[in-house]
């Protein structure tokens, strides 16, 4: 007894109890080899092409169609402008290392290579590095001011229309709710969360999304729409000053064109009035609250024209053009 206690380590609680020791002795520790990735993982994570993860549907992603999320679409358009070859895959915010889409996973150089994802904050540098054509850098100080137009009134009206307008509940469901869950209750909760988040975002810039310094409780929808009408009008005026048809008179489309396109494309595609409907005067437009109609009637149609040119340049020149055209 005395000998065993001398041999034992001084701190008794490190000792494995005897019965457990016996159990472990019968089962020798064995490390299995790492499982191979499932076959589709190669193509689903990253293949020969860099992969841009965006909000999209399976079919549309195969076609490389425009994403339905404005910030994803902005980067998708910009990467295309820069001449980067990439594929897109549908994803959600939960998959992103930064918690927000889009991000890009570079191509693998070897099968065991693990490329690290590039978040959207570094996508600009990535596009310039790997792109074939450099989009022009516009360095007008006015650019910042006009960028603010996109960040405040236009973003607010997009949030208001998609998330808070009962007319677009179906659209919201199709974009973000239905793919996420099939349960009625989960969908309801998700919808409520999204709506609440959108409302908070709008209220950060004031009840009308106009200049304001304090957060208030309720969204003033009328002012949100009116601010957006003014903003679209301003963008159309800016565009009409340019001789080349791109913003700030650039020779080829720039980042700012991509940002504007991201909103105008979605507004025109998903929120337009039915074909052939008469476009009345401003009062009617405000009452109808169709964002596509607002885009179309801004200025003398410059924004719609800009959208069409950019869409033709980026998407219809592709091999998938017929398919996309058929879908649209």
């Amino acid at each position: 007894m005395a000998t065993t206690s001398a041999a034992a380590p001084p701190r008794k609680w490190w000792q494995v109890p005897r019965p457990l020791q016996k159990v472990f002795d019968t089962f020798p520790l064995l490390a299995y080899d790492v499982n191979a990735l499932p076959g589709r993982a190669q193509s689903a994570t990253s293949g020969d092409l860099p992969t841009l993860y965006v909000f999209s549907t399976e079919e549309e992603a195969l076609l490389g169609a425009p994403s339905f999320n404005p910030s994803c679409l902005k980067w998708q358009a910009f990467l295309k402008l820069a001449g980067v070859k990439f594929q897109i895959l549908p994803s959600t915010n939960h998959a992103s290392p930064t918690g927000a889409l889009p991000f890009i996973l570079p191509a693998r150089s070897s099968p065991t290579d693990v490329p690290s994802p590039i978040p959207s904050s570094k996508l600009h540098g990535y596009a310039l590095k790997y792109g074939t054509s450099n989009p022009p850098e516009v360095s007008a100080l006015r650019l910042d001011a006009y960028q603010a137009l996109l960040d405040v009134p236009i973003r607010n009206v997009w949030l208001q229309a998609l998330y808070r307008d009962p007319e677009y509940t179906d659209l919201l469901d199709r974009f973000y709710i239905t793919p996420a869950s099939s349960s009625y209750w989960v969908r309801g909760a998700l919808r409520h969360q999204l709506r609440r988040a959108a409302e908070t975002e709008i209220l950060k810039t004031g009840p009308g999304g106009a200049a304001s310094t304090a957060i208030s409780l309720l969204v003033d929808e009328h002012s949100v729409y009116r601010a957006a009408v003014n903003a679209l009008e301003a963008l159309a005026t800016l565009l009409s000053e340019s001789k080349t048809g791109w913003f700030f008179g650039a020779e080829t489309p720039s980042m700012f064109d991509a940002s504007v396109f991201a909103y105008t494309h979605l507004m025109l595609k998903y929120m337009s009035d039915a074909e052939g409907e008469v476009e009345g005067e401003k009062g009617y437009i405000l009452a109808s609250r169709k964002l596509g109609t607002l885009v179309r009637s801004a200025g003398s149609g410059e924004l719609e024209q800009h959208h069409r040119r950019l869409f033709e340049l980026l998407w219809l020149a592709d091999s998938n053009a017929e398919l996309l055209d058929a879908k649209a």
């Binding site: 409520h192 709506r195 106009a210 200049a211 304001s212 304090a214 208030s216």
Partner: protein, 439 residues
């Protein structure tokens, strides 16, 4: 017809402490004659829209709030009372630029101002808070400035400068400390920690958070001021000089009157208050002399020290004002603010209250130009609240059931006690009874 303009009260030698209110007052002072409107010192909880500035038109019983909506509403009024700024002569690009710069002021200048006056603890407690206390009636300084500060901090959150708020920073450190203690990490005594290289040693420890972040702050400020510097804010003042400048420096961007008012409001609140940590003021004075000149001259022109006086409402004589300033309504506002602070439920309640007040205001209004469409969010929210209520009720019912089941003996009491009967003479039948009587 006298319009009532409800705004935050004066501070720092300016007619209002809030940038948007200040811009509106500046705009009114230039486009309306003083006889046509009345300035009412107020706070958001006193107006139906819960947002200042708010314009009340008694002839149509309409409330309009927010700088842009008010300016738009004014332009629908008839000229005798309202002098239109020369709108017809301006080219459309001026409008476009004005819209853009207004958006810029909202998205960038407002967070900057929030950092300087509200997020920075030193500036807030030395300057902003006393200013609010001076303009609010008694119990309200306990609630309203806090709400404003929270809102401002949220606006500036994306700049990542929360360390300027030393109160919050200390709280965070203390919380970490407690967590470390709870997790059982080794504790270094406080006295030792300082010597080893804690927060208070060395040059870095002596610096205020504003000084530590000075370079980043200056960068943030420069982003905004560089862009604003492009704008031809002082064009009317310049006269002949302006023409020369235009020849030299090429086209400077021209903007409308309302954008100038808004720019003046933000810049004045950055430049004029006397704050203990004047980083924003220093940046302005050192590098952007043009903007400083604009603020001072615009102020001299719009609010001359000897000259026209702003038509502030008289508290005693004006019935409209004394009604919203009565002791009862102030207590009501205070109680609402306190209720709003109840976690989870308070916010919902005040939203409901604000919505109701807005509905009432809209129904009273005789103008039909407003298009009112109910958002689904509202009905859904009431459903949610009803759901939460039902759940609570269900939990209560189930709890009550369990209580009855356990303690009220629906199936008998949970604890059965059996007392052994006392063995007395009575238990021995008739004979026992006989003897019991004897005992």
């Amino acid at each position: 017809m006298t319009l009532e303009l409800h705004v935050w009260g004066p501070a720092f030698g300016l007619p209002s402490i809030d940038a948007e209110c200040l811009a509106t007052v500046t705009y009114f002072a230039q486009t309306l004659s003083a006889a046509d409107y009345l300035l009412v010192q107020s706070s958001p909880s006193a107006v139906p829209s819960h947002h200042l500035p708010a314009l009340y038109n008694p002839s149509t019983v309409t409330w309009i709030s927010g700088f842009d909506p008010i300016v738009t509403y004014l332009s629908t009024l008839q000229p005798p009372s309202y002098h239109h700024p020369d709108v017809t002569t301006l080219p459309s690009r001026v409008y476009a630029n004005s819209q853009a710069y207004k958006a810029l002021l909202t998205s960038s200048a407002a967070p900057l101002l929030a950092l300087s006056l509200y997020v920075s603890s030193a500036n807030y407690s030395e300057t902003t808070r006393p200013a609010y206390s001076a303009i609010l009636p008694f119990p309200l300084p306990w609630t309203e400035p806090l709400a404003v500060r929270a809102a401002m901090a949220a606006r500036a959150a994306h700049l990542g400068m929360s360390s300027l708020d030393t109160d919050a920073e200390m709280e965070r450190l203390e919380k970490e400390e407690r967590e470390r203690e709870a997790a059982g990490w080794v504790q270094i005594p406080k006295a030792l920690r300082k010597a080893v290289g804690g927060q208070n040693s060395g040059v870095k420890g002596q610096l205020s958070p504003e000084m530590k972040r000075r370079i980043k702050l200056e960068g943030l400020a420069a982003e905004v001021f560089d862009v604003l510097g492009e704008v031809d804010l002082l064009e009317e003042e310049d006269g002949e000089e302006g023409e020369e400048e235009a020849k030299e420096g090429g086209a400077r961007i021209k903007v409308t009157l309302e954008t100038k008012c808004l720019a003046f409001a933000y810049l004045a609140l950055m430049l004029l208050p006397e704050v203990p940590r004047p980083w924003l003021k220093e940046v302005l004075q050192k590098k952007y002399a043009g903007l400083c000149k604009f603020v001072l001259e615009y102020r001299r022109k719009t609010f001359p020290e000897s000259g026209k006086v702003l038509p502030w409402a008289d508290r005693e004589s004006d019935p409209a004002v004394s009604a919203c300033d009565s002791a009862l309504s102030i207590v009501g506002r205070f109680v609402r603010a306190v209720v709003d602070d109840i976690p989870m439920l308070g916010r919902e309640w005040s939203r409901w209250w604000a919505l109701r007040q807005r509905r009432v205001a809209e129904e009273n209004s005789t103008e039909t130009q407003l298009v009112i469409r109910r958002s689904v969010g509202e009905s859904e929210r009431s459903l949610l609240l009803a759901g939460a209520g039902l759940t609570l009720l269900a939990i209560n019912v189930v709890g009550l059931g369990i209580y009855w089941y356990r303690y009220r003996g629906l199936l008998g009491a949970p604890l059965q006690t059996w007392h052994r009967p006392l063995v007395g003479l009575g238990s021995f039948g008739a004979a026992g009874a006989m003897f019991a009587g004897l005992a």
